[in-house]
Symmetry: C2
Subunit: 345 residues, 2 copies
């Protein structure tokens, strides 16, 4: 347990270099491919033979992506790592090394920063990602950036561009829970608190679909994949755009959790809107060629522990991107997911 | 030339995805090791045989690291890339791929962002670094993060930890110019404007010592190296701390440019303080074992086009880190360089 003196330590008091020393000890190297971790001008790591590297980054800004009223520093660390690992999973790759940049107010308590790094580290280690370096600077608002390198067997990365007309469209887990959780944080109510708290958990500590991504790439099951960070409708447009195809998505097939259905039912909300346009699901959206569908349906959940559901199929580009309603009507599906500068949600 | 319509385009109007499309076209792939650039969940690149990878990151925050009163968006792009390449140079590595995260106000003009990316790209390409991905998010203040991966022949990376007592201590270029430039921006004056503008240029568009780093690593000339981002005194402490040695630095040997000497002379300032404690020089500080000194002195400037100067030597740790004054006095050298949370400068 921290004593009173420790609780009052701020970044302004220990300074950048004092803080780096603390983090360096806490982040000690474990990954055998990491040759040199925190403490030099750059980290050093070894690429694995027969592999290509993937490289991704995500930035989270206080007041835009998170609010410390709701999320703890530990959860924020875990989530920042999770969203990067989710990109890595969408490529079918294994994370290797991460660098972390933090913009932090001077009076920010060091104990909270240590909790942040602990969340980052715990979630990174689950997936093999080691924090090997970073940058810590002053900022009025808390801003964090993680850049992640991962590796994938040469030629096996899951791109957005490989879908063909005729492929089945799949999604992992359930859709819209995170947006439901955000809704409940923004509209606190006494109704169905327990249900809401399940949704909030999915919003604050998303779980990247790492195992699914790995099986999809290593067994060449998927022809394309993307992670759902901005909502299904937006991601379907990205996938179709990159692949040069259209899609038909069946409303009745969309996986909606009992929690979200219950939450929406109590409040007169439409769960479909959350499932189609809610952000931060971090589920995988992927396509499977017809001959492999039964394999995907039968083996994938057993191997990965994560449910998958076929929600539609890819069609020629000329047919556009459509939602097939429960009544069988065909409606164009607009990309209404979250855009950081247009902010539709 | 941009027309009026283009000038009025803001990020809020084109949106995140509209902007990504613009950047994707502007950043088209050239590096043969980059398999897949901007536009997927992550970029893909091939590691070179017989090489290890280095990984570094730097964050720059508006109002802390830069002010748009002084720096143009193009220059900011160039500088953000330069400070990352400088870390890479301090490892003796070649840059390969960069990811760029931007936090940008909604009303920020798209034309300025394109200029920023153009600066980033131009400076990256000089050193072989290709922008392969990124993240663009909303933020009240402009904040930019670059993460850079580079490669270096296995086992040849220049660490901070290799210096031995007896090694000579070298520095590239001249010291304190960037801090002089910052001083002149903060204290505008009619005196010696031309001199000041040379210093300002070093502050706004620093040149990373890439060639020097490459020769030092590939020819095994240096036993350790670090780049000077927070001031010579601080970096000397880092190098000594990691290597477990002390150092003697000779005041009269410190390379001070005629511009800085003139600027300080006219204003009654001490150039020594700028040279020792000024930040953002992005020169390299490195150590050379005695048998290699003549080689370093004679060949390095000719091969790299950058001057190097021996400024002292490494001594046993027990002797501490000292400045030998012009009068021959031995004074402990305190680490007074820039600390983002203590902010001594």
């Amino acid at each position: 347990m921290k004593n009173e003196k420790d609780k009052k330590e701020t970044l302004g008091k220990v300074g950048e270099f004092g803080f780096i020393e603390k983090i360096r000890t806490a982040m000690k190297a474990k990954n055998p491919n990491v040759v040199l971790g925190i403490g030099d001008d750059a980290a050093i790591f070894k690429p694995a033979k027969g592999h290509e590297l993937i490289f991704t980054t995500d930035m989270l800004v206080e007041g835009r992506h998170f609010d410390f009223k709701w999320i703890s520093p530990w959860q924020l660390g875990a989530k920042t790592m999770a969203v990067n690992v989710s990109d890595c999973a969408a490529m079918g790759a294994k994370p290797t090394a991460a660098v972390v940049s933090l913009g932090v107010p001077k009076d920010y308590p060091v104990a909270n920063l240590e909790a942040f790094y602990d969340g980052l580290k715990s979630w990174g280690e689950q997936y093999g990602a080691q924090v090997v370096g970073g940058d810590t600077v002053g900022s009025d608002k808390f801003v964090v950036n993680v850049a992640l390198v991962g590796e994938v067997e040469t030629g096996r990365a899951l791109r957005r561009s490989g879908a063909k007309a005729g492929d089945a469209l799949f999604v992992t887990g359930t859709l819209g829970d995170s947006a439901g959780g955000l809704h409940s944080l923004l509209h606190p109510s006494e109704k169905g608190k327990e249900t809401a708290s399940l949704l909030v958990k999915r919003h604050l500590t998303p779980v990247p679909r790492f195992n699914t991504g790995r099986v999809l790439s290593s067994k060449k099951l998927a022809s394309s994949a993307i992670d759902i960070s901005d909502g299904l409708s937006s991601e379907a447009h990205h996938l179709c755009g990159e692949s040069g195809v259209g899609a038909e998505i069946h409303e009745e097939a969309l996986p909606i959790s009992p929690s979200l259905a219950h939450y929406c039912g109590e409040r007169g909300l439409d769960p479909l809107d959350f499932a189609l346009n809610g952000g931060e699901d971090y589920e995988l959206l992927f396509t499977v060629p017809l001959p492999r569908i039964s394999e995907a349906v039968q083996k994938l959940p057993a191997e990965t522990g994560v449910a998958v559901k076929s929600i539609g199929r890819m069609v020629p580009k000329s047919k556009g991107i459509a939602l097939i309603t429960r009544k069988g009507e065909r409606k164009p599906l607009a990309a209404k997911g979250f855009d950081h500068f247009k902010g539709q949600l």
